[in-house]
Amino acid sequence: MEDFAALLDALVYTTSRNRKLALIADYLRAAPDPDRGWAMAALTESLDFPAVKSSTIKALMMERVDPLLWQLSRDFVGDTAETASLLWPEPQDAAPQPPASLSDVVAQLSALTRASAPTQLAQLFDRLDAKGRFAVIKLATGGMRIGVSARLAKTGFAQAFDVNVEEVEEYWHALTPPYADLFAWAAKGGPAPDLAGKPRFRPFMLAHPLEESSVDLGDYATEWKWDGIRVQLVRAGDETRIYSRSGDDISATFPELLNQLPFEAVLDGELLVRGSAQGGETGGAASFNALQQRLGRKNVSAKLLRDYPAFVRLYDVLLADGRDWRAHPWKLRRATLEALMPRLPASHFDLSALVEAPDFASLAAIRETARDEAIEGLMLKHRESPYVAGRKAALWYKWKRDPLLVDCVLMYAQRGSGKRSSFYSDYTFGCWTGDPEAGGELLPVGKAYSGFTDAELKELDRHVRQHTIARFGPVREVERRLVFEVAFDSVHTSKRHKSGLAMRFPRIHRIRWDKPAHEADRIASLRALIKD
């Protein structure tokens, strides 16, 4: 348990991705089985101990600490787990008890009931120091919030044992903690896990941005790049799962799709909600903004299901009816997919249509219209391309429409993190509410931290320091004088922002050192671009 607690503690304070990976890999190499399997489960938030809630911890503390002192401490620290770990009274009898192993702790937590939790947890806390208690409480109550994503943990695993992270992803979702087969394979050279009959994730095939001036449409087929989330639908046996691009299982977020796939298959598509912004008035999809109402929820209300019904617009087939199509050319997979469509309910599936154009120039013209339909752009897929994991040169291209551009004024700058922690590298910018000479004000419309070179970052950093008018912790307010030409993909209404709108993917396109601030754009012109 000490090693795991030390790992969590170190991860909390580490900002560099590479150092985080090294910490995880070092731990996984050194820790015994099955401790390291449980640690991976904890880092990927795959554990659930329903008998322990944050309120359980608070109730335990109330029996030991004055309620006012608890409250004052909790308010200052800002985290129940951490406050409890610091305030737990060290046991009076100093008889040394060996710290429990992570596996012991997991076993104890799993066996807890609402009734037994208080005494059992108290005994456990008495055997640990503050770091150990913090780790146990985080483990028990879930929600690590230590800046480690599931993907990062798996990358750390791959790095520890020198295996391919795509392969780890592929096995991951079919296995359960503590992943004995996975460690046997990666750490001890055993056979690959046997996954027959279980749903599992296959790494997505991805596209490069199109940099060539044109491609031969005889070689490449074209379809729209829909603006939803890329998903993989997998049915094996009677079980259907939905995986996100990162390989996370998001089945619980979209329960309406789980009993709609009538045969065993692995399908690749875009998850969308019904609406009219993408692909026509009937059978169309709403904008990404509408889809966002559905993302990230573990429990979905009946109202959300009714207001934002989800469906999948299919791009590709990886497996169907027991046959693996991945090694076959795209044109054959496409024909297979088209042949499968009649067997899929139209209520929850449609086919991503091909965009036909006689030549590349007319395709470019079609792409220009994409904005009206709130579509991200075009995809170009080589007709002979097999389905391979990751980005492979010249097989698939994404050809995003040109970004929208707007001139904004820099208002606030914030220090970056990691390598950029000494630079003001995150910029909040605004547009005018009206004529600045007639009392128009700037309201923030977005925030960006990319799109400039290292040399430009240095200049921007200097500009921020020289034109600061107020400081708020890591944030500086600056004189309203520098204009950014900001590129973004789309703009949507937003109740969260004072300006009433939110940009998607804003980035600094050009720094307009030359342009006077009062010539920057008005909020109204940005609002005119909204396609909700």
């Binding site: 304070y13 600490v65 002192l69 200052f76 305030l87 890591p474």
Partner: protein, 334 residues
């Protein structure tokens, strides 16, 4: 006859001793001030007369470049202030020269601690427990979550980080007066004899400590370092320099900070600290409560910090206490 202790008058900008018309650690310039220690929030310049320990006066001279009106008083020495008030300076264990001030008037004894700690510190004299009627204490770390571990443990972490990162500079943020010298002295005590590299703002204060007999070993300025000198070296800078342009010159720095606030993860993350070291020159919760119990005054007054929790503790242990709400004393960096 006047009410008991009415001669000690807490005002928002300091404590006024009415019969002698002197102020303790005033936040503005006054004709006559008693200063507990050299930190800027307690020792401001511009007083007509400044009564303090010789070391505190030396620190103030270094900071304000003048020693006009300086009246030195040694530890244990008493000085008449007029109006029937006598002041005695007693060690507070906070930083070099730091003192509690015992005031006596009409048979009543009041101690003003300034800032203090009970943990051992090779750079200053230890806190002297002294009986009194009213004990006026700080409460910077007056929450039960604040417990400072033994400094040897934290120094051990610093040395371990250095051993584990031979290509990096270990950049330690530490307050330029007191904390930096204490950490250096403890590093020397732990057997670390290599050059320790300093930010320019540290240099004069370190020299002053050495002039007061505290050996700090081989110290050099970062500005004099060669290209590879700082790899695998310990570099000490004021906390404000940690994430500022100054630190860009360091090779792959691992950012550490020595402060009592590092006990709380959020505080460390907020400052981008990768290696938090819980080292403070203030009393932690246990020291605060133990000290009140040791001194055992009739009444405890709390000057600054998390006074609400300490008041609650006094209440629970049936001790009389009140909060004074003085302005200007808050130590974000300690």
């Amino acid at each position: 006859m006047t009410a008991p202790f009415s001669w000690v008058r807490p005002e928002p900008w300091g404590i006024h001793i009415a019969p002698a018309d002197v102020w303790i650690d005033p936040a503005r310039a006054v004709p006559k001030a008693l200063v507990t220690h050299g930190h800027a929030d307690h020792a401001r310049g511009g007083h007509g007369e400044t009564i303090a320990t010789p070391a505190t006066l030396a620190i103030m001279k270094l900071r304000y470049a003048t020693s006009d009106g300086a009246v030195p008083v040694e530890y244990g020495e008493s000085i008449g202030l007029g109006g029937g008030v006598t002041a005695t300076f007693l060690p507070a264990g906070h930083v070099l020269g730091s003192a509690q001030i015992l005031l006596e008037h009409a048979g009543e004894r009041v101690i003003i601690t300034g800032d203090y700690k009970r943990a051992p510190d090779p750079t200053c004299a230890p806190f002297a427990v002294t009986p009194c009627d009213i004990f006026i204490t700080e409460a910077t770390f007056g929450l039960p979550v604040f417990t400072h571990p033994p400094i040897e443990e934290e120094i051990g972490k610093l040395l371990a980080a250095r051993a584990a990162n031979p290509d990096s500079a270990i950049l330690l943020g530490a307050y330029a007066l007191g904390k930096a010298q204490r950490v250096i002295a403890e590093l020397r005590a732990a057997g670390h004899s290599d050059t320790i590299w300093l930010h320019g703002a540290m240099e004069k204060m370190c020299r002053l400590y050495e002039e007061h007999g505290i050996a700090l070993g081989d110290l050099k300025l970062v500005s004099d370092a060669g290209k590879d000198d700082l790899r695998g070296a310990i570099v000490i800078a004021p906390p404000a320099a940690l994430n500022d342009r100054w630190s860009r010159r360091l090779p792959n720095p691992v950012t550490a900070m020595a402060s009592g606030w590092m006990r709380v993860r959020g505080r460390a993350r907020q400052r981008g600290v990768e290696l938090p070291l819980v080292i403070s020159d203030h009393a932690d919760w246990n020291e605060l409560t133990r000290t009140i119990a040791d001194v055992n005054p009739q009444e405890t007054w709390i000057t600054h910090g998390r006074e609400e929790a300490l008041l609650r503790w006094c209440d629970l242990s049936q001790r009389r206490a009140r909060a004074l709400a003085l302005v200007g004393y808050e130590d974000e960096d300690d």
